[in-house]
Protein backbone atom coordinates (compact mmCIF):
# COMPACT_ATOMS: atom_id res chain seq x y z
CA UNK A 1 0.00 0.00 0.00
CA UNK A 2 2.64 2.40 1.14
CA UNK A 3 4.86 1.27 -1.64
CA UNK A 4 2.14 1.82 -4.19
CA UNK A 5 1.48 5.30 -2.96
CA UNK A 6 5.12 6.10 -3.07
CA UNK A 7 5.51 4.82 -6.54
CA UNK A 8 2.44 6.75 -7.65
CA UNK A 9 3.91 9.83 -6.07
CA UNK A 10 7.18 9.17 -7.83
CA UNK A 11 5.40 8.80 -11.16
CA UNK A 12 3.56 12.05 -10.68
CA UNK A 13 6.74 13.78 -9.67
CA UNK A 14 8.53 12.37 -12.68
CA UNK A 15 5.76 13.46 -15.04
CA UNK A 16 5.80 16.87 -13.45
CA UNK A 17 9.53 17.14 -13.89
CA UNK A 18 9.22 16.09 -17.50
CA UNK A 19 6.58 18.71 -18.09
CA UNK A 20 8.65 21.31 -16.28
CA UNK A 21 11.80 20.47 -18.17
CA UNK A 22 9.80 20.56 -21.39
CA UNK A 23 8.63 24.05 -20.59
CA UNK A 24 12.12 25.12 -19.61
CA UNK A 25 13.57 23.69 -22.75
CA UNK A 26 11.13 25.48 -24.93
CA UNK A 27 12.02 28.70 -23.24
CA UNK A 28 15.66 28.15 -24.05
CA UNK A 29 17.81 27.80 -27.08
CA UNK A 30 15.53 25.07 -28.51
CA UNK A 31 18.32 22.57 -28.03
CA UNK A 32 18.87 19.45 -25.99
CA UNK A 33 20.55 20.68 -22.87
CA UNK A 34 19.53 18.23 -20.20
CA UNK A 35 22.29 16.05 -18.91
CA UNK A 36 25.04 14.40 -20.80
CA UNK A 37 23.44 11.78 -23.01
CA UNK A 38 24.77 13.81 -25.96
CA UNK A 39 28.16 12.16 -25.66
CA UNK A 40 26.83 8.59 -25.46
CA UNK A 41 24.75 8.35 -28.56
CA UNK A 42 26.59 10.38 -31.12
CA UNK A 43 24.65 10.93 -34.29
CA UNK A 44 26.08 9.68 -37.54
CA UNK A 45 28.13 12.13 -39.57
CA UNK A 46 26.43 12.49 -42.93
CA UNK A 47 28.64 14.82 -44.93
CA UNK A 48 31.73 16.92 -45.04
CA UNK A 49 32.57 20.50 -45.93
CA UNK A 50 35.28 23.07 -45.37
CA UNK A 51 34.18 25.83 -43.01
CA UNK A 52 33.68 29.32 -44.40
CA UNK A 53 35.29 31.47 -41.75
CA UNK A 54 34.28 34.94 -40.65
CA UNK A 55 36.76 37.78 -40.66
CA UNK A 56 36.12 40.42 -37.99
CA UNK A 57 34.00 42.46 -37.76
CA UNK A 58 31.82 40.14 -39.82
CA UNK A 59 30.48 36.88 -38.47
CA UNK A 60 30.95 33.59 -40.26
CA UNK A 61 27.96 32.91 -42.52
CA UNK A 62 25.33 30.53 -41.23
CA UNK A 63 25.06 27.27 -43.09
CA UNK A 64 21.98 27.19 -45.29
CA UNK A 65 19.84 24.07 -45.27
CA UNK A 66 21.64 22.40 -42.42
CA UNK A 67 20.00 19.10 -41.48
CA UNK A 68 22.31 16.66 -39.75
CA UNK A 69 25.79 16.46 -38.24
CA UNK A 70 28.61 17.07 -40.68
CA UNK A 71 32.35 16.80 -40.64
CA UNK A 72 33.59 20.38 -40.77
CA UNK A 73 37.17 21.05 -41.80
CA UNK A 74 38.66 24.19 -40.29
CA UNK A 75 41.95 25.43 -41.74
CA UNK A 76 44.01 27.66 -39.48
CA UNK A 77 47.41 29.15 -40.26
CA UNK A 78 49.55 30.71 -37.58
CA UNK A 79 51.44 33.77 -38.77
CA UNK A 80 53.66 36.00 -36.63
CA UNK A 81 53.86 39.49 -38.11
CA UNK A 82 54.08 43.18 -37.24
CA UNK A 83 50.72 44.91 -37.69
CA UNK A 84 49.09 48.21 -36.87
CA UNK A 85 48.12 48.58 -33.22
CA UNK A 86 47.21 52.25 -33.43
CA UNK A 87 48.07 55.13 -35.76
CA UNK A 88 51.86 55.18 -35.95
CA UNK A 89 52.16 52.23 -33.56
CA UNK A 90 53.07 48.71 -34.64
CA UNK A 91 53.19 45.50 -32.66
CA UNK A 92 54.38 42.02 -33.62
CA UNK A 93 51.18 40.04 -33.35
CA UNK A 94 50.95 36.28 -33.30
CA UNK A 95 47.85 35.51 -35.30
CA UNK A 96 45.48 32.84 -36.49
CA UNK A 97 45.11 33.43 -40.25
CA UNK A 98 46.88 36.79 -40.16
CA UNK A 99 44.20 38.70 -38.28
CA UNK A 100 43.38 39.66 -34.69
CA UNK A 101 41.05 38.20 -33.67
CA UNK A 102 41.51 35.01 -35.66
CA UNK A 103 38.66 33.86 -37.89
CA UNK A 104 35.21 33.15 -36.51
CA UNK A 105 34.33 29.48 -36.83
CA UNK A 106 30.68 28.40 -37.12
CA UNK A 107 29.50 24.83 -36.74
CA UNK A 108 26.44 23.01 -35.44
CA UNK A 109 25.88 20.97 -32.34
CA UNK A 110 26.89 17.39 -33.08
CA UNK A 111 29.31 18.27 -35.88
CA UNK A 112 32.73 16.68 -36.02
CA UNK A 113 35.17 19.56 -36.26
CA UNK A 114 38.49 18.66 -37.83
CA UNK A 115 41.07 21.36 -37.17
CA UNK A 116 44.12 21.64 -39.43
CA UNK A 117 46.56 23.91 -37.64
CA UNK A 118 49.57 25.00 -39.71
CA UNK A 119 52.40 26.99 -38.20
CA UNK A 120 54.30 29.17 -40.69
CA UNK A 121 57.90 28.12 -41.39
CA UNK A 122 58.85 31.71 -40.51
CA UNK A 123 57.40 31.49 -37.03
CA UNK A 124 59.74 31.73 -34.08
CA UNK A 125 57.43 29.89 -31.71
CA UNK A 126 55.49 26.66 -31.56
CA UNK A 127 51.74 27.22 -31.30
CA UNK A 128 48.56 25.30 -30.63
CA UNK A 129 44.84 25.86 -30.17
CA UNK A 130 42.54 25.36 -27.21
CA UNK A 131 38.90 25.58 -28.30
CA UNK A 132 36.57 26.03 -25.38
CA UNK A 133 33.93 24.28 -27.51
CA UNK A 134 35.95 21.05 -27.45
CA UNK A 135 35.62 18.33 -24.84
CA UNK A 136 39.02 16.69 -24.36
CA UNK A 137 42.45 17.33 -22.84
CA UNK A 138 43.43 20.97 -23.23
CA UNK A 139 40.52 21.61 -25.58
CA UNK A 140 42.80 20.37 -28.33
CA UNK A 141 45.92 22.10 -27.02
CA UNK A 142 47.86 18.88 -26.51
CA UNK A 143 46.91 17.41 -29.84
CA UNK A 144 47.67 20.56 -31.76
CA UNK A 145 51.07 21.69 -30.45
CA UNK A 146 52.79 22.54 -33.72
CA UNK A 147 56.41 23.45 -34.41
CA UNK A 148 57.20 26.09 -37.05
CA UNK A 149 56.80 24.69 -40.56
CA UNK A 150 54.44 21.90 -39.51
CA UNK A 151 50.72 21.10 -39.55
CA UNK A 152 48.73 19.29 -36.86
CA UNK A 153 45.33 17.74 -37.38
CA UNK A 154 42.86 16.75 -34.69
CA UNK A 155 39.10 16.58 -34.41
CA UNK A 156 36.43 16.93 -31.77
CA UNK A 157 32.67 16.58 -31.56
CA UNK A 158 30.86 19.82 -30.78
CA UNK A 159 28.78 18.38 -27.95
CA UNK A 160 27.39 21.62 -26.56
CA UNK A 161 25.85 24.58 -28.34
CA UNK A 162 27.01 28.08 -27.47
CA UNK A 163 29.55 30.76 -28.26
CA UNK A 164 33.07 29.86 -27.22
CA UNK A 165 36.51 31.42 -27.16
CA UNK A 166 39.46 29.69 -28.73
CA UNK A 167 43.05 30.68 -28.08
CA UNK A 168 46.61 29.49 -28.31
CA UNK A 169 47.60 27.67 -25.14
CA UNK A 170 51.32 27.19 -25.64
CA UNK A 171 53.45 28.21 -22.69
CA UNK A 172 53.58 30.96 -21.70
CA UNK A 173 49.86 31.06 -22.40
CA UNK A 174 49.35 34.65 -21.28
CA UNK A 175 51.86 35.93 -23.78
CA UNK A 176 50.36 33.97 -26.65
CA UNK A 177 46.93 35.42 -25.87
CA UNK A 178 48.24 38.93 -25.28
CA UNK A 179 49.96 38.73 -28.66
CA UNK A 180 46.66 38.18 -30.43
CA UNK A 181 46.05 34.44 -30.68
CA UNK A 182 42.32 34.16 -30.07
CA UNK A 183 38.92 34.12 -31.71
CA UNK A 184 35.41 32.72 -31.39
CA UNK A 185 33.75 29.47 -32.37
CA UNK A 186 29.96 29.41 -32.52
CA UNK A 187 28.28 26.06 -32.06
CA UNK A 188 24.74 26.60 -33.28
CA UNK A 189 22.01 24.48 -31.76
CA UNK A 190 20.74 21.78 -34.13
CA UNK A 191 17.80 23.93 -35.22
CA UNK A 192 20.03 26.95 -35.75
CA UNK A 193 19.82 30.34 -34.11
CA UNK A 194 16.81 32.50 -35.01
CA UNK A 195 17.46 34.53 -38.14
CA UNK A 196 18.54 38.15 -37.79
CA UNK A 197 19.46 40.83 -40.33
CA UNK A 198 23.05 41.61 -39.40
CA UNK A 199 25.67 39.61 -37.54
CA UNK A 200 28.94 41.03 -36.28
CA UNK A 201 32.03 39.53 -34.68
CA UNK A 202 33.99 41.46 -32.09
CA UNK A 203 36.64 40.27 -29.64
CA UNK A 204 38.18 42.39 -26.93
CA UNK A 205 41.79 41.91 -25.90
CA UNK A 206 44.58 43.66 -24.00
CA UNK A 207 48.03 44.48 -25.32
CA UNK A 208 50.94 45.04 -22.98
CA UNK A 209 53.51 47.35 -24.56
CA UNK A 210 56.80 48.67 -23.25
CA UNK A 211 55.79 52.16 -24.33
CA UNK A 212 52.75 54.06 -23.12
CA UNK A 213 49.48 54.46 -25.01
CA UNK A 214 50.17 56.47 -28.15
CA UNK A 215 53.96 55.93 -28.24
CA UNK A 216 54.86 55.38 -31.87
CA UNK A 217 57.03 52.80 -33.57
CA UNK A 218 57.24 49.04 -33.13
CA UNK A 219 56.24 48.27 -29.56
CA UNK A 220 57.60 45.30 -27.60
CA UNK A 221 55.72 43.05 -25.22
CA UNK A 222 56.13 44.12 -21.60
CA UNK A 223 56.16 41.13 -19.28
CA UNK A 224 55.95 43.16 -16.07
CA UNK A 225 52.86 45.06 -17.19
CA UNK A 226 51.23 41.75 -18.13
CA UNK A 227 52.03 40.28 -14.72
CA UNK A 228 50.69 43.43 -13.07
CA UNK A 229 47.56 43.31 -15.29
CA UNK A 230 48.28 46.90 -16.34
CA UNK A 231 47.72 47.13 -20.11
CA UNK A 232 48.18 50.35 -22.05
CA UNK A 233 45.86 49.07 -24.75
CA UNK A 234 42.46 47.44 -24.41
CA UNK A 235 41.05 47.09 -27.91
CA UNK A 236 38.23 45.62 -29.96
CA UNK A 237 39.27 43.48 -32.93
CA UNK A 238 43.00 43.87 -32.50
CA UNK A 239 43.71 47.57 -32.88
CA UNK A 240 42.68 51.05 -31.84
CA UNK A 241 40.05 52.32 -34.24
CA UNK A 242 39.30 48.96 -35.83
CA UNK A 243 35.58 49.76 -35.56
CA UNK A 244 35.70 53.56 -35.79
CA UNK A 245 34.95 56.01 -38.61
CA UNK A 246 35.40 54.28 -41.95
CA UNK A 247 35.72 50.96 -40.16
CA UNK A 248 32.45 51.32 -38.27
CA UNK A 249 29.87 48.57 -38.61
CA UNK A 250 26.57 49.43 -40.32
CA UNK A 251 22.89 48.62 -39.99
CA UNK A 252 19.59 50.07 -41.14
CA UNK A 253 16.71 51.08 -38.95
CA UNK A 254 14.40 48.23 -38.21
CA UNK A 255 17.14 45.62 -38.65
CA UNK A 256 17.82 43.02 -36.03
CA UNK A 257 21.48 43.11 -35.10
CA UNK A 258 23.34 40.29 -33.42
CA UNK A 259 26.83 40.76 -32.03
CA UNK A 260 29.03 37.79 -31.21
CA UNK A 261 31.26 39.34 -28.59
CA UNK A 262 34.22 37.62 -27.00
CA UNK A 263 36.71 38.67 -24.38
CA UNK A 264 40.13 37.10 -24.85
CA UNK A 265 41.62 38.86 -21.85
CA UNK A 266 44.26 37.74 -20.98
CA UNK A 267 43.48 39.50 -17.70
CA UNK A 268 40.52 41.86 -17.66
CA UNK A 269 36.78 41.30 -17.46
CA UNK A 270 34.71 43.32 -19.92
CA UNK A 271 31.50 45.26 -19.28
CA UNK A 272 30.08 45.25 -22.78
CA UNK A 273 27.61 48.00 -23.55
CA UNK A 274 26.22 49.70 -26.62
CA UNK A 275 25.57 53.35 -25.83
CA UNK A 276 22.00 54.22 -26.78
CA UNK A 277 20.73 50.67 -27.14
CA UNK A 278 19.18 48.14 -24.83
CA UNK A 279 19.89 44.53 -25.67
CA UNK A 280 16.62 42.72 -26.46
CA UNK A 281 18.33 39.44 -25.76
CA UNK A 282 21.58 38.42 -24.13
CA UNK A 283 22.66 34.79 -24.29
CA UNK A 284 24.41 34.94 -20.95
CA UNK A 285 28.07 33.95 -21.17
CA UNK A 286 27.33 32.59 -24.63
CA UNK A 287 25.29 29.73 -23.17
CA UNK A 288 21.66 28.67 -23.13
CA UNK A 289 20.20 31.13 -20.68
CA UNK A 290 18.64 34.20 -22.23
CA UNK A 291 18.26 37.42 -20.36
CA UNK A 292 16.13 40.21 -21.82
CA UNK A 293 16.32 43.98 -21.84
CA UNK A 294 19.88 44.29 -20.64
CA UNK A 295 22.00 47.47 -20.59
CA UNK A 296 25.49 46.11 -19.90
CA UNK A 297 26.63 42.53 -19.84
CA UNK A 298 29.68 41.15 -18.09
CA UNK A 299 32.04 39.06 -20.23
CA UNK A 300 34.75 37.18 -18.36
CA UNK A 301 38.24 36.74 -19.74
CA UNK A 302 38.08 33.59 -21.83
CA UNK A 303 34.33 34.02 -22.26
CA UNK A 304 31.82 35.31 -24.76
CA UNK A 305 28.29 36.57 -25.11
CA UNK A 306 25.66 36.80 -27.84
CA UNK A 307 23.73 40.06 -27.78
CA UNK A 308 20.80 41.11 -29.95
CA UNK A 309 19.00 44.37 -30.40
CA UNK A 310 16.88 46.10 -32.99
CA UNK A 311 18.25 49.31 -34.41
CA UNK A 312 15.30 51.70 -34.39
CA UNK A 313 16.69 55.22 -34.51
CA UNK A 314 19.36 56.35 -37.02
CA UNK A 315 22.67 57.67 -35.75
CA UNK A 316 25.98 56.58 -34.36
CA UNK A 317 25.98 54.07 -31.54
CA UNK A 318 29.16 53.59 -29.57
CA UNK A 319 30.23 50.15 -28.43
CA UNK A 320 32.30 50.18 -25.28
CA UNK A 321 33.76 48.26 -22.44
CA UNK A 322 31.93 50.31 -19.83
CA UNK A 323 34.95 50.18 -17.56
CA UNK A 324 35.02 53.47 -19.26
CA UNK A 325 38.64 54.63 -19.10
CA UNK A 326 39.45 51.58 -21.18
CA UNK A 327 37.03 52.81 -23.82
CA UNK A 328 38.16 56.37 -24.15
CA UNK A 329 41.79 56.11 -23.10
CA UNK A 330 42.91 52.63 -24.07
CA UNK A 331 40.99 51.84 -27.23
CA UNK A 332 38.03 49.62 -26.24
CA UNK A 333 35.54 51.49 -28.34
CA UNK A 334 33.74 50.98 -31.64
CA UNK A 335 30.89 52.45 -33.66
CA UNK A 336 27.71 51.17 -35.18
CA UNK A 337 26.24 53.53 -37.76
CA UNK A 338 22.51 53.12 -38.18
CA UNK A 339 20.97 54.72 -41.26
CA UNK A 340 17.30 55.08 -42.17
CA UNK A 341 14.11 56.91 -41.30
CA UNK A 342 14.01 59.02 -38.16
CA UNK A 343 11.51 57.79 -35.60
CA UNK A 344 10.57 60.81 -33.51
CA UNK A 345 8.07 58.78 -31.51
CA UNK A 346 10.88 56.74 -30.03
CA UNK A 347 13.53 59.42 -29.83
CA UNK A 348 12.81 63.05 -30.47
CA UNK A 349 16.26 64.45 -30.75
CA UNK A 350 16.65 67.89 -29.31
CA UNK A 351 13.36 69.74 -29.48
CA UNK A 352 14.54 73.07 -28.12
CA UNK A 353 17.40 74.84 -26.42
CA UNK A 354 16.69 77.87 -24.24
CA UNK A 355 18.42 79.95 -21.55
CA UNK A 356 18.10 78.66 -18.01
CA UNK A 357 17.47 81.33 -15.38
CA UNK A 358 16.94 79.87 -11.92
CA UNK A 359 14.66 82.11 -9.84
CA UNK A 360 16.64 81.80 -6.62
CA UNK A 361 20.35 81.49 -5.94
CA UNK A 362 22.36 80.81 -2.80
CA UNK A 363 25.45 82.80 -1.73
CA UNK A 364 27.71 80.93 -4.19
CA UNK A 365 25.32 81.50 -7.06
CA UNK A 366 24.06 77.87 -7.19
CA UNK A 367 20.33 77.46 -7.92
CA UNK A 368 18.23 76.63 -4.88
CA UNK A 369 14.81 75.04 -4.88
CA UNK A 370 12.51 77.14 -2.72
CA UNK A 371 10.09 75.35 -0.47
Amino acid sequence: MRLARNSKFATTLFAGLLLLSGVLLQGCFSASTDGDNSSRNLEKITGEYTAKLGEAPFAAPSIAGYKSPQKVIVNMHVIEKPMRLANGTQYTFWTFNGTVPGPMIRVHEGDEVEVHLSNSPNSTMPHNIDLHAATGPGGGAEASLTAPGHTSVFSFRALKPGLFIYHCATAPVGMHIANGMYGLILVEPKGGLPKVDKEFYIVQGEIYTEGSYGDTGLQKFDLQKALDERPDYVVFDGSVGSLMGNNAIHAKTGEKVRIYFGNAGPNLTSSFHVIGEIFDKVYLEGGQMINRDVQTTLVPAGGAVITEFTSRVPGIYTLVDHSIFRAFNKGAVGQLQVSGEENKDIYSGKIKDEPYKPAFQDATGEPVTRK
Binding site: T92, G138, P172
Partner: protein
Protein backbone atom coordinates in the same frame (compact mmCIF):
# COMPACT_ATOMS: atom_id res chain seq x y z
CA UNK B 1 57.88 -7.05 -53.24
CA UNK B 2 58.45 -5.75 -49.77
CA UNK B 3 61.43 -8.05 -49.34
CA UNK B 4 62.88 -6.65 -52.51
CA UNK B 5 62.64 -3.19 -51.11
CA UNK B 6 64.35 -4.29 -47.95
CA UNK B 7 67.24 -5.83 -49.78
CA UNK B 8 67.88 -2.72 -51.81
CA UNK B 9 67.48 -0.72 -48.67
CA UNK B 10 70.20 -2.60 -46.87
CA UNK B 11 72.47 -1.96 -49.81
CA UNK B 12 71.76 1.71 -49.30
CA UNK B 13 72.42 1.27 -45.62
CA UNK B 14 75.84 -0.15 -46.10
CA UNK B 15 76.88 3.44 -46.77
CA UNK B 16 76.42 3.94 -43.05
CA UNK B 17 73.67 6.26 -41.97
CA UNK B 18 75.10 7.08 -38.61
CA UNK B 19 78.32 8.64 -39.73
CA UNK B 20 81.16 7.45 -37.53
CA UNK B 21 84.17 9.62 -36.77
CA UNK B 22 86.19 9.74 -39.95
CA UNK B 23 89.25 11.09 -38.24
CA UNK B 24 90.70 10.93 -34.76
CA UNK B 25 89.08 14.10 -33.53
CA UNK B 26 88.68 13.28 -29.88
CA UNK B 27 91.50 15.51 -28.75
CA UNK B 28 91.70 17.72 -31.77
CA UNK B 29 88.35 18.87 -33.02
CA UNK B 30 90.34 20.32 -35.90
CA UNK B 31 88.25 22.07 -38.49
CA UNK B 32 85.05 22.06 -36.49
CA UNK B 33 84.00 24.78 -34.07
CA UNK B 34 86.34 25.86 -31.30
CA UNK B 35 85.29 24.63 -27.85
CA UNK B 36 85.45 26.15 -24.43
CA UNK B 37 85.83 24.45 -21.05
CA UNK B 38 82.75 24.73 -18.83
CA UNK B 39 83.64 24.12 -15.21
CA UNK B 40 80.37 22.55 -14.20
CA UNK B 41 78.42 23.09 -11.00
CA UNK B 42 74.90 22.93 -9.75
CA UNK B 43 71.93 23.78 -11.88
CA UNK B 44 68.37 24.12 -10.62
CA UNK B 45 66.09 22.95 -13.40
CA UNK B 46 63.45 25.37 -14.48
CA UNK B 47 60.76 22.73 -14.31
CA UNK B 48 60.68 20.67 -11.15
CA UNK B 49 59.77 17.03 -11.33
CA UNK B 50 58.86 16.63 -7.68
CA UNK B 51 57.80 18.60 -4.63
CA UNK B 52 61.31 19.36 -3.51
CA UNK B 53 63.66 21.58 -5.44
CA UNK B 54 65.95 19.30 -7.34
CA UNK B 55 69.47 20.42 -8.12
CA UNK B 56 71.31 18.84 -10.99
CA UNK B 57 75.03 18.35 -10.74
CA UNK B 58 76.64 19.35 -14.03
CA UNK B 59 79.98 17.66 -14.66
CA UNK B 60 82.70 19.67 -16.40
CA UNK B 61 82.39 19.59 -20.18
CA UNK B 62 83.45 21.34 -23.35
CA UNK B 63 80.98 23.32 -25.43
CA UNK B 64 81.25 24.81 -28.91
CA UNK B 65 81.66 28.56 -28.54
CA UNK B 66 79.10 29.11 -31.27
CA UNK B 67 76.49 27.13 -33.18
CA UNK B 68 77.58 24.95 -36.11
CA UNK B 69 77.60 27.03 -39.29
CA UNK B 70 76.41 26.27 -42.81
CA UNK B 71 80.04 26.11 -43.99
CA UNK B 72 80.95 23.63 -41.26
CA UNK B 73 77.93 21.49 -41.94
CA UNK B 74 78.72 21.45 -45.66
CA UNK B 75 82.03 19.82 -44.87
CA UNK B 76 80.21 17.09 -42.97
CA UNK B 77 77.78 16.52 -45.83
CA UNK B 78 80.63 16.34 -48.33
CA UNK B 79 82.31 13.65 -46.28
CA UNK B 80 79.01 11.88 -45.57
CA UNK B 81 77.00 12.23 -48.77
CA UNK B 82 74.23 10.04 -47.36
CA UNK B 83 73.30 13.18 -45.42
CA UNK B 84 72.93 15.25 -48.60
CA UNK B 85 69.53 16.81 -49.10
CA UNK B 86 68.42 14.48 -51.87
CA UNK B 87 69.79 11.36 -50.17
CA UNK B 88 68.59 11.57 -46.60
CA UNK B 89 65.68 9.19 -45.87
CA UNK B 90 62.46 10.90 -44.79
CA UNK B 91 62.57 8.91 -41.57
CA UNK B 92 65.56 10.95 -40.45
CA UNK B 93 64.75 14.42 -41.78
CA UNK B 94 61.51 15.95 -43.00
CA UNK B 95 60.99 17.58 -46.38
CA UNK B 96 62.49 20.95 -45.44
CA UNK B 97 65.94 19.57 -44.63
CA UNK B 98 68.66 22.11 -45.57
CA UNK B 99 66.10 24.07 -47.56
CA UNK B 100 68.25 27.19 -47.33
CA UNK B 101 70.95 25.56 -49.48
CA UNK B 102 70.99 25.77 -53.26
CA UNK B 103 71.66 22.07 -53.76
CA UNK B 104 73.16 18.98 -52.15
CA UNK B 105 76.73 20.29 -51.89
CA UNK B 106 76.26 23.96 -52.67
CA UNK B 107 75.09 26.50 -50.10
CA UNK B 108 74.73 29.00 -52.92
CA UNK B 109 74.76 32.11 -50.77
CA UNK B 110 77.99 33.46 -49.31
CA UNK B 111 76.06 35.61 -46.88
CA UNK B 112 75.02 32.61 -44.82
CA UNK B 113 78.29 30.63 -44.80
CA UNK B 114 78.93 31.76 -41.25
CA UNK B 115 75.34 31.81 -40.15
CA UNK B 116 74.18 28.91 -38.01
CA UNK B 117 73.06 25.90 -40.00
CA UNK B 118 69.33 25.42 -39.47
CA UNK B 119 66.64 23.20 -40.99
CA UNK B 120 68.58 20.20 -39.77
CA UNK B 121 66.94 17.32 -37.94
CA UNK B 122 68.06 15.98 -34.58
CA UNK B 123 69.28 12.86 -36.37
CA UNK B 124 71.46 14.98 -38.65
CA UNK B 125 72.78 17.03 -35.74
CA UNK B 126 73.55 13.86 -33.82
CA UNK B 127 75.36 12.38 -36.83
CA UNK B 128 77.36 15.58 -37.29
CA UNK B 129 78.40 15.56 -33.64
CA UNK B 130 79.58 11.96 -33.88
CA UNK B 131 81.50 12.75 -37.06
CA UNK B 132 83.18 15.69 -35.34
CA UNK B 133 84.20 13.46 -32.42
CA UNK B 134 81.77 15.33 -30.21
CA UNK B 135 78.23 14.86 -28.98
CA UNK B 136 75.13 17.01 -28.53
CA UNK B 137 74.92 18.77 -25.16
CA UNK B 138 72.31 17.46 -22.75
CA UNK B 139 69.40 19.71 -21.96
CA UNK B 140 70.78 20.44 -18.51
CA UNK B 141 74.25 21.20 -19.84
CA UNK B 142 72.75 23.50 -22.39
CA UNK B 143 70.50 25.27 -19.90
CA UNK B 144 73.40 25.59 -17.45
CA UNK B 145 75.59 27.22 -20.07
CA UNK B 146 72.73 29.48 -21.16
CA UNK B 147 72.05 30.64 -17.62
CA UNK B 148 75.38 32.50 -17.40
CA UNK B 149 75.02 36.28 -17.45
CA UNK B 150 75.73 38.16 -20.68
CA UNK B 151 78.85 40.34 -20.78
CA UNK B 152 78.45 42.41 -23.92
CA UNK B 153 74.81 43.47 -23.88
CA UNK B 154 74.05 47.16 -23.67
CA UNK B 155 73.49 48.15 -20.04
CA UNK B 156 69.94 49.25 -20.66
CA UNK B 157 68.87 45.82 -21.78
CA UNK B 158 68.16 42.99 -19.40
CA UNK B 159 68.63 39.46 -20.65
CA UNK B 160 64.91 38.78 -20.22
CA UNK B 161 63.88 41.73 -22.34
CA UNK B 162 66.52 40.85 -24.93
CA UNK B 163 65.22 37.32 -25.22
CA UNK B 164 61.54 38.27 -25.17
CA UNK B 165 62.26 40.72 -27.92
CA UNK B 166 63.88 38.04 -30.02
CA UNK B 167 61.09 35.57 -29.31
CA UNK B 168 58.58 38.22 -30.30
CA UNK B 169 59.97 38.62 -33.80
CA UNK B 170 59.47 36.36 -36.80
CA UNK B 171 62.58 34.60 -38.12
CA UNK B 172 64.46 36.83 -40.60
CA UNK B 173 64.88 35.55 -44.16
CA UNK B 174 68.68 35.44 -43.76
CA UNK B 175 69.97 34.49 -40.33
CA UNK B 176 72.75 36.71 -38.93
CA UNK B 177 76.25 35.27 -38.49
CA UNK B 178 77.27 33.37 -35.38
CA UNK B 179 78.71 35.49 -32.55
CA UNK B 180 76.30 38.29 -33.49
CA UNK B 181 73.96 38.04 -30.49
CA UNK B 182 75.92 38.16 -27.23
CA UNK B 183 78.70 36.47 -25.31
CA UNK B 184 78.15 35.27 -21.78
CA UNK B 185 80.39 34.95 -18.73
CA UNK B 186 81.43 31.45 -19.73
CA UNK B 187 82.74 32.79 -23.04
CA UNK B 188 79.98 31.13 -25.06
CA UNK B 189 78.20 33.05 -27.81
CA UNK B 190 74.54 33.32 -28.84
CA UNK B 191 73.06 30.82 -26.43
CA UNK B 192 69.88 32.85 -26.77
CA UNK B 193 68.65 35.39 -29.25
CA UNK B 194 69.95 33.94 -32.53
CA UNK B 195 68.37 30.52 -33.07
CA UNK B 196 66.82 27.66 -31.13
CA UNK B 197 69.19 24.74 -30.60
CA UNK B 198 68.72 20.98 -30.49
CA UNK B 199 69.83 19.22 -27.33
CA UNK B 200 70.63 15.55 -26.98
CA UNK B 201 67.65 14.70 -24.80
CA UNK B 202 65.12 17.29 -25.98
CA UNK B 203 62.49 14.56 -25.75
CA UNK B 204 63.05 14.48 -21.99
CA UNK B 205 60.74 17.46 -21.58
CA UNK B 206 58.21 15.88 -19.33
CA UNK B 207 56.17 18.23 -17.30
CA UNK B 208 53.72 15.84 -15.70
CA UNK B 209 54.65 14.90 -12.17
CA UNK B 210 55.32 11.25 -12.95
CA UNK B 211 54.74 8.61 -15.56
CA UNK B 212 51.39 7.63 -14.10
CA UNK B 213 49.77 10.47 -15.95
CA UNK B 214 48.08 9.11 -19.01
CA UNK B 215 49.53 9.05 -22.47
CA UNK B 216 51.57 12.03 -23.51
CA UNK B 217 53.09 13.84 -20.61
CA UNK B 218 53.02 17.26 -22.12
CA UNK B 219 50.09 18.72 -20.27
CA UNK B 220 52.17 20.64 -17.80
CA UNK B 221 53.24 23.32 -20.20
CA UNK B 222 49.71 24.23 -21.09
CA UNK B 223 47.99 26.65 -18.81
CA UNK B 224 48.62 26.73 -15.13
CA UNK B 225 50.37 23.49 -14.26
CA UNK B 226 53.66 24.52 -15.80
CA UNK B 227 53.87 27.82 -14.03
CA UNK B 228 53.33 26.22 -10.66
CA UNK B 229 56.29 23.96 -11.29
CA UNK B 230 58.54 26.69 -12.57
CA UNK B 231 61.50 27.57 -10.40
CA UNK B 232 61.15 31.27 -11.08
CA UNK B 233 58.34 33.19 -12.73
CA UNK B 234 60.82 35.65 -14.20
CA UNK B 235 61.96 32.75 -16.30
CA UNK B 236 59.28 33.29 -18.90
CA UNK B 237 61.84 32.76 -21.63
CA UNK B 238 62.56 29.28 -20.31
CA UNK B 239 58.90 28.45 -20.69
CA UNK B 240 59.21 29.15 -24.36
CA UNK B 241 62.30 27.00 -24.78
CA UNK B 242 60.63 24.08 -23.07
CA UNK B 243 57.43 24.56 -25.06
CA UNK B 244 59.52 24.69 -28.21
CA UNK B 245 61.32 21.45 -27.35
CA UNK B 246 58.06 19.81 -26.53
CA UNK B 247 56.69 20.65 -29.98
CA UNK B 248 59.57 18.87 -31.72
CA UNK B 249 60.10 15.46 -33.19
CA UNK B 250 63.57 14.26 -34.07
CA UNK B 251 63.00 14.36 -37.83
CA UNK B 252 61.76 17.97 -37.81
CA UNK B 253 63.75 20.59 -39.64
CA UNK B 254 62.93 24.19 -38.81
CA UNK B 255 64.23 27.48 -40.17
CA UNK B 256 65.40 28.79 -36.83
CA UNK B 257 66.53 25.55 -35.21
CA UNK B 258 70.22 24.60 -35.31
CA UNK B 259 72.69 23.11 -32.84
CA UNK B 260 76.11 23.19 -31.26
CA UNK B 261 78.20 20.32 -29.94
CA UNK B 262 79.65 19.35 -26.59
CA UNK B 263 82.29 16.93 -25.40
CA UNK B 264 83.11 15.28 -22.07
CA UNK B 265 85.97 16.80 -20.12
CA UNK B 266 88.20 14.13 -18.71
Amino acid sequence: MRRAILISLSAFLSLGLQAGPKHERDHDPGRTTEMIYIKGGNYTPFLQTSERTEKINIHPFYLDVHAVTNAEFLEFVQENPQWARSKVPPLLADGNYLQQWKSDFNIGNNDILHSPVTSVSWFAAEAYAKWAGKRLPTMYEWEYAASAAPVNLSKAETLTSYILNWYGKPTPQLLPHVKSAFRNKLGVYDMLGLIWEWVYDFNGVITGSDSRSQGTLGTGLFCAAGSQNAANKEDYASFMRFAFRESLKADYTIRNLGFRCARDAK
